[in-house]
């Protein structure tokens, strides 16, 4: 009985048709036009974004290659005449040791304790000669150089005068899995030095801060740790 109602309506209405107004197609077309334009603009936007990203990356690469080398040249010029004559006779042992250290990068974590111990007496030796400013300056420079990419490593090593330089830099050069381990020891060393600087003299505070800032750039994750440890000291 109900199906008869259904059938009546279905037969009459399923194929039924009503004349749409003249504007109906225009409306549809307007929508389609919008969509097409949207797609076009999206494509243009995508291309623009891609191009700008590529140029940005290219510029970054270029600057990465150029800047550090320029800096290096400057630093080398400054340092080589000043420090080499003074330092070399005094610290043959230290420079040798640093070389040795750079060779045994794998086993460094074990040496960390020994080395940090060594660091103390050295600076103490230096103090009486009123050369305090020079080594610490170099120390402060160290982390800055760690920001620099690999190519600097080799040139730096050649003229290394500072004790901490090779060992701080090495962790940067070593492959990923090792980094986690070695970085810490490097950090510890730097912390030791930072401690010395802190304890030794007040005018070095600025340098210390600058160093910490630069350091924070490089080891963001460890920043907090650093702070805590610093406070602890």
């Amino acid at each position: 009985m109900s199906n008869k109602v259904d059938k009546l309506f279905k037969d009459k209405l399923e194929g039924d048709s009503l004349q749409p107004s003249a504007q109906a197609w225009e409306k549809v077309e307007a929508h389609l036009g919008k969509k097409n334009k949207m797609v076009l603009w999206l494509r243009v936007a995508a291309v623009v974004v891609l191009l700008s990203a590529l140029t940005f990356v290219a510029l970054r690469w270029n600057s990465n290659y150029e800047e550090p080398q320029q800096e290096l040249v400057k630093q080398n010029d400054e340092r080589t005449p000043k420090t080499t004559p003074v330092d070399e006779p005094k610290q043959p042992v230290a420079s040798q040791k640093s070389e040795v250290r750079s060779r045994e990068s794998g086993a460094r974590s074990q040496d960390a304790g020994r080395r940090t111990q060594e660091a103390k007496p050295r600076t103490q030796n230096l103090e009486p000669r009123t050369q305090n400013a020079e080594p610490t300056e170099q120390l402060a420079v160290v982390p800055e150089q760690t920001v620099v990419s690999e190519p600097t490593l080799s040139t730096q090593k050649g003229i290394t005068l500072t004790y901490s330089l090779p060992s701080v830099k090495k962790p940067e050069a070593t492959p990923e899995p090792v980094v986690a381990e070695t970085k810490k020891t490097g950090l510890e060393r730097v912390l030791e030095i930072a401690k010395e600087v802190k304890n030794s003299d007040s005018p070095l505070g600025e340098l210390r801060e600058a160093k910490n800032d630069i350091f924070a750039l490089d080891f963001k994750k460890d920043k907090d740790k650093n702070k805590k440890q610093n406070q602890g000291f």
């Binding site: 039924d16 389609l32 097409n36």
Partner: protein, 200 residues
């Protein structure tokens, strides 16, 4: 034979529309818009609103035509998009269900005779007068061939709700049909019998 010709035309049209050929799109629109407008107006009472719904649905047809894989009839595919768009419109703009209880007619009208007498226009009006919920379910089930399960999914109700809505819609339509039949008889014969569609 005719069917096959239509099918071939459809395929060409579909290919054209997939390439976003404006002429093909226009032709497809002209070909189907009349029936689709009638469909939308069965759900959406107002003619202008129905046309707006159809326009939006057609833009979706053209957007998604790449998704039509040739399974089932193309018209069926378009119809579904139209139905979905109509339901979306109703969902947005009106409460879907009215809780009025409908009384069933006692006597059956003569459907064969009614079929001859009533025009599609009259039936459309009868459907348009149904409460929204009944109208939707009756349209979906009786005319557009949805199952109760599909309706339940579409509307987010239980199958039983769908069934009860359908039977109430039928009862209401039946009553109205009977009234219109009686009205005609009464006009010609006179008021020899009081309208006897009694209430259960």
């Amino acid at each position: 034979m005719e069917c096959q010709i239509y099918h071939a035309v459809d395929n060409e049209l579909i290919d054209g529309c997939k390439k976003r050929d404006r002429h093909a799109q226009r032709f497809l629109f002209e070909h189907y818009s009349g029936r689709m407008l009638a469909l939308c107006c069965r759900y959406v009472k107002d003619r202008m609103d129905g046309e707006d719904v159809m326009v939006v649905a057609f833009t979706k047809v053209f957007d998604r035509i790449g998704q039509f894989k040739g399974e089932g009839s193309f018209e069926g595919w378009i119809r579904r998009i139209m139905v979905n768009e109509s339901l979306t419109y109703l969902r947005k703009n009106k409460s879907m269900y009215l809780e009025t209880d409908i009384e069933a007619a006692e006597r059956e009208p003569d459907y064969d005779k009614l079929g001859g007498e009533l025009e599609a226009e009259d039936l459309r009006k009868l459907i348009a007068d149904l409460p929204t919920g009944y109208r939707i379910v009756f349209n979906l089930y009786a005319i557009d061939g949805y199952s109760h399960q599909e309706i339940a999914t579409q509307l987010g109700v239980s199958e039983n709700t769908s069934k009860s809505q359908l039977s109430r819609a039928r009862a209401l339509l039946q009553k109205k049909l009977f009234e219109s039949e009686n009205g005609r008889i009464n006009k010609s014969v006179g008021r020899h019998e009081q309208q006897s569609g009694q209430i259960i």
